[in-house]
Every structure is written in C-alpha cells, then in structure tokens.
C-alpha cells in the first residue's frame, strides 16, 4: 500500500500504517449506498485515511488522495458557516439533541412542530442551508469556497451527476422541506433550497482535503489562514454536536467505540476531530445498516485505542 506524504512531521504515520494493514486483512466491508448510481459503483474494498496536524501538515495511507462523494460530511461546514454569521439565533430553528430516530424520519419532526432535533439529520441540514441561503444567496457556493480555501485545493468541485441523481431521488427531502415550510421554518422557495442542498451533498473531495478542511475545529475556530471563523465556544459547540449527533442513529455507539467528535456521510467518508491536536478523515465506501462506513469506524476505533486520544 503506497504511502504519500507532504511534509516532514508525521507523528501518527506509523499508527496509520498499522491500521491500514489491519484493515487490509479484515474481510466484510458492508455495502456501498445504492440509492444513486454514482455511489453504488464504488468498490467497497477501497480504503484511505489521512491525518492533518494543526499546522496544516497532512499525510495518509491508502487512497487518501482519491476524491469521493462527501455527502452528509458537508453538513458540518454548512453549520459552521451559518453559525459564524447568525450566532445563537440559529438554535431557535434547529435543536442540538440526538434524534433517536433514523436520519430522514418525519415522526419526530411532527411531534416537535417542524423544529428538527439537530443540524445533522437531513431536516436539520435543510434548515441550516435555508438560513445560510437567506444570508448569502448562494449557500452551496459559500461552502465550496470554504472547502477550497481550507484544503488548499482549488480543483474541488460539485459533482453534477451526483447532484442530478440526488434531485431525481429527492422526494424524501422534498417532503421534509415542505413539511417544515408548513410550520414556517423554511424561508426560501423549496425548489431553490433543494437545489442548494443537493449541490452541497455532491461535492467530491479526498481524505486529505477533508482532514485539512476540518482543521478549524481542532484549532478552536481558527481557519487555515489564521483568521477566526468561530469563537472558541462555538467551535466547542460544533464538536459537541458532532459527538452526540454526527453518525446518524449510531452516535452513542460511535462515542463508545471511537470517543471523538465525528461526522459520517453515505459516500463512505468520516471526519473526526481531536481538539487541540489534529483532525482525521477516513474513507471506505461499504456501509453498515446505519449508514456509516464499516472500515471507517473500525479504523477510527483502532486509532483512538492505539493512541489513547479518545476524549474519554
């Protein structure tokens, strides 16, 4: 397995290499998401993992430079971009409690009058996107600009085929958006909102890109260029929401096994934060029944076990 590195300080590289080897010997990778063709076509044996240190050093193992579909991972960045602009008023429109229900459920939304439980279930991400759209008139464009700047990769882009597929199979998200609109919790036209939302989900990026882009959460709110995106308190808030709500209906299990703030996507990627120390991104397309990458969770579990870097 080829190892590429970009700078000289690679504290965790031996750990990554050991993990990659172990994962390579592990059968059973789950199945890629199959609701859109572009995801279903990925090879479940693919695996990559990257670490970004606080100073922007990034290195990895396996296919850590291979772009994949970020999907729900972008919900973290959209949340941060809106929170930076709007502050605590956001929390009147979306909660920060675990949902206890599948990520696209309408049940809880109905019982709680159109206020989604947290920003990482689809309903909550739609609300966050809607509010960022109101404030910027181009939520997806803002996201893309941010990811490019933080990763230092100007080639990052939307995958229009993926976005088109999402739209074609977007009835569930359309239902969520109209439902919240019926409670007055969506400001923009639903068609416009869904277009913004599906484009965000479609961004293709690599483990290297995403580990770097997540760096501001390990640096307590500071961007790659040294400017502040979030206050220290806000960065702590985003990490807390990631830990309690970041992996769909398996957040408790993830906290229990991995013990780090993390966010997964159905493209098979997972980002994770060691506050004050580093960020990680792992990718393998095969998912468990809850929508999280099988090899990805296993790799992060090994990482915190081997390094003792769990927050617990």
């Amino acid at each position: 397995m080829a190892i590429m590195t970009t700078t000289s300080s690679h504290t965790f590289l031996p750990v990554l290499e050991r993990i990659a080897e172990e994962i390579g010997h592990t059968p059973g990778r789950g199945r890629p998401a199959d609701y859109i063709p572009a995801l279903a076509a990925r090879d479940p044996r693919s695996f990559g993992m990257a670490v970004a240190e606080l100073d922007g050093t990034v290195y990895g193992v396996g296919e850590w430079r291979e772009p994949f579909s970020t999907q729900s991972i972008t919900k973290v960045f959209t949340l941060a971009l809106d929170l930076a602009r709007e502050g605590d008023e956001l929390w009147e429109h979306v909660g920060r409690e675990p949902s206890g229900n599948p990520f696209n459920s309408l049940v809880q939304l109905e019982y709680e009058n159109g206020i989604p439980r947290n920003p990482f279930i689809n309903a909550g991400a739609l609300v966050v996107t809607d509010r960022l759209q109101t404030r910027t008139e181009d939520a997806a464009g803002q996201l893309l600009d941010f990811l490019r700047a933080e990763s230092g990769n100007p080639a990052l882009d939307f995958d229009h085929e993926v976005a088109a597929s999402e739209t074609a199979f977007g009835d569930r998200n359309a239902a969520l958006a109209h439902f919240m609109a019926s409670y007055g919790n969506i400001d923009n036209d639903v068609t416009v909102l869904l277009d913004q939302y599906f484009r965000q989900c479609s961004v293709a990026a690599s483990c290297a890109d995403l580990a770097l882009a997540t760096g501001f959460l390990a640096r307590h709110g500071i961007r790659a260029d040294g400017t502040r995106l979030l206050t220290r308190s806000q960065a702590k808030q985003v990490n807390a929401v990631m830990l309690t709500c970041g992996t769909y209906d398996a957040a408790g299990d993830f906290a229990y096994r991995v013990g780090l703030p993390g966010k997964s996507g159905v493209g098979g990627g997972i980002i994770a934060v060691v506050p004050g120390r580093c960020t990680l991104c792992v990718w393998s397309p095969g998912l468990d029944e809850r929508g999280n990458s099988v090899a990805g969770v296993a790799a992060l579990d090994r990482f915190t076990t081997l390094t003792g870097l769990s927050v617990f």
Copy 2:
C-alpha cells in the same frame, strides 16, 4: 460561604470559590422535583460543589458535605457494577444510544421490542438492576457497599422514607418493568426488582461522597483502593454513555454547554468526569423543565469555561 478541605492539594479551589460566588448572585433556580415529599421540601437556594482529584483529595464549596437524594446518579454505579461482572453481553439487553424521548417514555420501548435505548433512561436502569440482581441477589446492597468503599463514608445509607415514597408513586416504573417482562427482557419478579430499584434511587450522599465515588471513571477503571473495577475500555464506554445519554433529553445541550461526561438526578445532583484529571459533583435542588439542576448545569458550564477542561 464556608470552605472545608480535607487535604493539601486543591488545584481547582479558587475556581470553585469564584463559581459559588457567581451562583450566589444569580436569581432563578428552577423548582425542586415535587412528585415525592422528601424532594419537594428541599430549598432551591441550596448549593454545593466538590472536586475529587485522582489521589482521593476532595474539597468543595457551599453545602458540599450536605447529603441529598442521589436518585438517577446511582444508575452510573449500577451500570459499572454490572458491566464489571457481565461484560459486553449486557449490551444485548440494553442499547447505548440517546433516546430522543423523555426518560420515562414507553414509546421507543415498544418500537424497539422491549430493549431500552440506554442504561440511563428508567427502562434501561431497570434492566441493568435486574441483571445485577440476578448476578448478586442484592443489587441495592452491592451498590451501597461500593459507594461506602469509594467515598470512605460508612454512614452512607438508603433513605427509607424516600424509597417508600418512590414505591407509592411507582406506577410508571412498574409499567416499564412489566412491559419489558412481556418481551422477556426482565428476569426477576417485578415486585422484587422494583424494591431493589427504588432503594438504589433513595441513597442519600453528599457532593464529597459522590465526587469520590465517581473517581474510578477518571482513573480509567481503577477503584480508590487501587484494584481494577472496569477495563480501560469499559471505563471509556461508561464515560461515552454518560456524555451522550446522561442528562435525560438534554444530553446534547449538556455536551454543548459543559462538554464533560455527566449524570444528573432529580434530587438536584450532577456528577461529571474529567478523564485522567478529576471528578466533580454539584448539587442544587431546583430543576429545569428537563429535570436537571439549574444551578448545577450553570456551575459545570462555568467550570469548563474557566478551566478549559472540556473534552472538546
């Protein structure tokens, strides 16, 4: 406000003093639980806070030596005692995901065939007690022995008036127990189980007692006498479950504000863990609408803000 100390190293004492002073100036303390007389009678202006360092040093402010009703805080210890005996098999009978519903809800239990979501909702604690009872024939006695040993306070005891009140108003817990029994998830006679359960909840202890008794979770599983109760991995698991599920339906909010594994009780107490560093217990009887101590959450929020000791 009188300060009592027991040993010489009191790193966080100035912080506690500052917090106590701030809390003293803050109006609005919520209302004590009113479903049983012994809780309703407590003065919502009461406040105490203690820190226990890893070596057993304990100190505090306010009424940190005053016994109060531990209530759901004991769920942490019962969980640890059963996990130490049973290991991972326990997790086939109780989940470790946040519930997204009030702590005594039957709804989720029905949808998930009698398997409670986590050990800290009442249904889950009943299952843990049932399993500890099967293994020890005296779950409540085991709990009391453990608390006495860890706190070094042999005077700790059940409050029989509280236990009797709980039993008299225990229809909801009886419903939960019978309901799970109908799914085959309770082994003991329901009457026996409820007696054990209500006695556990009735234990009276002070902030000092509870901060000390929680120490094994900061020491990665090691008891006060240096013997091991839990493996390092199990201690991490209990901390993870506390962070994601420890404060009823406000776990996300608690993680967001405090950022530490914690467990609250309707007696107004909250324990919290700074892994590898120290444990805390705060007490003030006035509760918010979710059942957590108003001044207790505020004090812990200030503690992590002032010390930077949040896990995030």
Copy 3:
C-alpha cells in the same frame, strides 16, 4: 326561514323544519376554518340542510341552495370514480382502516411504508386522485362532470380563488405527496397531482347539489340516470369506509351520535347516507376542534334521533 321545494313527496320536511328551528335557537357554532381567506369569511350562523329521496326528489331548509366549498366531501366521489374503474386493486395502495391520528399526520404513513390508512385522510385522497389521474388524465374534470350530472346542475364549478389559496398554503399536502412518492406510491408528477387535488377540493356546491350527487350510495351503486357506477358490494364498501373514517379523528363519535355513513369537509358541509332510503347534506361553516361542522353534526344527530333511521 324560507323553505323551497322542487317536487311533491317530502317525507322528512317536517323533521327538517323542526331541526332548523332548534338549530336556530342554539348558540355556539364553532369557528370557520381560517387557513384560507375564502373559508374564514363565511358566517358561522349560516345553516342549510337538504334531503334527496331515491327518486331524485330534493328539498330542504335554510340556506340549502347556497353554494359552499365542498373540500374533503369530494373525496367520496373521487373514491367512487376510481373504484369503479380500478376495482379492488386500489386497496393495495390505500387501506380502509380508521387512522387514529389527525387527518394530515405523517406519522402513521411512515410506520406503514407510504400506504395511507384510508381514502379519506389527505394522504389517502392524494393516492386515490393520483390513480384516477393515471386512468383518466383529468381527475378533477371527471369529478366535476360527475357532480354536474348527478346534481343536474351544469353551473357547478371549481372555485379558482380557493384552489389558488390551497396551493399557496399547500406545503403539508406537498410533503405528504413527496413522502409517498419516496415509497413509490405516487405515479404522477407531484406538481400535477397537487393541482388536480386542490381543484377537486375547491368545487363549490349547495346542500341540494351534494344530497343529489350522493344518491348513488343510497341506491346501492345506481346513478341518477339509472346506469350503474358501482356494484352493490362496492357501494356497501364506500358506505362502510364513510362510517368508520369519514369524519377525521371523530369517526367513532359520529357513528355513536349519528349512526350513518357520513363525510365532512372543512367548508362546513357534511353528507350522509341512509342506505336504501335517502341521502342528506347539511352545511354550517363553524367547525369544532376536529374539523367537523358543529351545527351540522348536531342536525344529523337530531335527524336520526327523530326518525329512528340510524343504521344501529
């Protein structure tokens, strides 16, 4: 109160007159639906009631010739029109059980995988409209033709202002339609379907028109012109669904008080069937908290009490 009649045999006219007088003396009429302006503007003191005998004789009291917004009453006719074409296959796409939930709830729909409980909750009516649309390419037009033919009133028409208002406030129905589409239970484009659906709901008709149009259900499936729309068994089925599901979450109460198959609309109208004997329509815009006309239910209650014509 002026009485108009159209033919000579008016068996129930004295009963209607007595009811109208009693209703006239009764204060408390509920409140008109207020979610669209055209409904909110109606006077809750308005009242009309008509009886149509099997031979097409129709007579009434009060404002029985005044057109009002039919709303959900049209669900009965759309159901009959599709059932006549499709037969029992329809019941694979919509159930015929009471819902036990408010008429526009998404909860049950989610637990039952996109199959609505019955044709009279909004989700079920959307499915029926979708299927009639697939078979006729103009579901709303078919409905209008049918109502004109049965009532003998060629002036019956859609109320375009009402349809436009429904569309403007149609997020909840859009959510329902997209949600069912995500389960594969909607064939047509959601925008097309909603247009058809809202036009149906907008039809304006009088008590006389609707009592006549309902006649086929009292004649065991035979239309006004003597041709058969439904088999005897199908007519019985529609009546059974009306009795168990026709008045939102108050079907049990309606069966208990009135004891006739009936269907209400938020415009304040209610149709009812005495199988083999006659049909009724009553209208008064003030609604109770479950969406049924207060004076309408009271009038039908009195009718079955005075005539002994309840099915029980």
Copy 4:
C-alpha cells in the same frame, strides 16, 4: 353436520346450513392463539354458528353448543353493565374512537395521557372493568350473573385454568394498568383489577349462549326478561362502538366486508348484531394475523351477502 334447534321459528336456518357447507369446503383456517395452552389446544377445523331471534329463539349449525373461551367478547357486556350504571361519565375515562394501533399498544395511550381510545382495546377494557369494580365490588361476578341470565344457562362459568394462564402471561396488561394508574385513570389496586379482568376473559360459553346474551343490543337495550338494561340511545352507542372498534385493527375491513356491529375474541368467537332483527355468534379457533377468526369473518361476510342484512 348435525343441526339442533330449540323452538319453531328458524328464519335463517337455511342460510346457516349453506354457510356451514361452504365453510366446510374451504381450506385455510388460520392458527389458534398460542400464548396460553388452553387456546393453542383447540382444533382450527372446529366451526359453529348460531342465530338468536329477538324473542329468544336460538338455533345453529356445527358446534354451536360447544363452549369456547370468550376472551375479548366479554368486553361488550362489561361495557354495557358499566354504562348502565355510570352513564356518559364513563366517556371521560375512555374514548370511543378507533385506535389505529394494535389492541395492546402503549403508544397511543402515552400520547393521550392515559385515556384509552375505546373500550375494546385492552387498556380501555381495563378502565371499564376498574369502574365497574368500583361500583359493584365484583365486576367479574356481575358479568357472569348477566351472561347466565341472558343465555338461560346457569352452568356458564369462569375457566380457572385459562384465568391462571392469563395471569401468568399478563405482563403486558399489568404494564397497561400501571401506566394508566400513573395518570390517575385507575381507581382500584392493580392486582385486584387484573384478577377481575382475567376472570372475565376466561368465561367459557357457546355460540348459543353468546348469541342469546347479545340479544339486548338487537332489542335496543331490553334484556331477555323484558326489563331495560340500556336506553335506546345507549344501545345504539354500544353498537356504534362495536362497528368502529370491535375487531382490533381490522374494524374498517370488518365493516367493509360484514357491515354489522361485531366483537371478536382470540378464542375464535365473534358476536354480531342486526339491530331490530337478530344477533349472531360464530366460532372457529383459527385466527388471522390481526386476531380475528378466519372462518368466523368469512361466515359473517356470507351471512350479510346472502341475506342483505348489512347495515349499509
């Protein structure tokens, strides 16, 4: 198939004979309830059907004189006995709407604060029994006296083996009772209540017995001895509740197919009422997945089709 008759006017006997012959040729009878041994042991090929005319004439086909376990059928009589004593106040403690959920569900009970939806789900029957117990101090004894008097069969009795089995497997009902007690909707001690409830369910009676005992509902409230149990309006109410709620989660389907007020039990019996005309009881132990007798529903369906006696 032997036919026994007791008096001279047997209007529907030829219809019963035809139905018995058809049923005899029909394979597929479902499976007996298996949660207690006494029910599981019954032969699913057993079949009996009886008609009782208004004057007390009773006749039948098949095993119409064979006693079977009445189970939930007794809920009708308990309801009538309490309603006769308590009147409309009962309806403040139990609703009369279909449940839309399985008969022993706790979900709806929780959302509606401990008020069961109707008297025929288990929770509702527990409330009715509790109230009758408060008024008579022997609810089960009152029921037995009533059934003996109406059927003219002094040998009718509880089946103590069945009652003991129900108690042994009674956790779900204990959960329901405690849960409602927690809302203040149960007056008696739960242990006493459950004993009364399970004894009621255990009564063994034949089709002949039950058809006769149901007669007061066809006679608009008049008992076999000519005295009045219920007002005409109350009898209508009970029939309405039977039609909308009498067959668990299949009430809509039963109304649609049979079109008569009816009540089933998991012993395989079903009673039905043709108001003003006659009563029926059919029995065959094999159940469908909703808990209703397969041959029983089929026989009643044929009866209303052949006689045209559906209420619709």
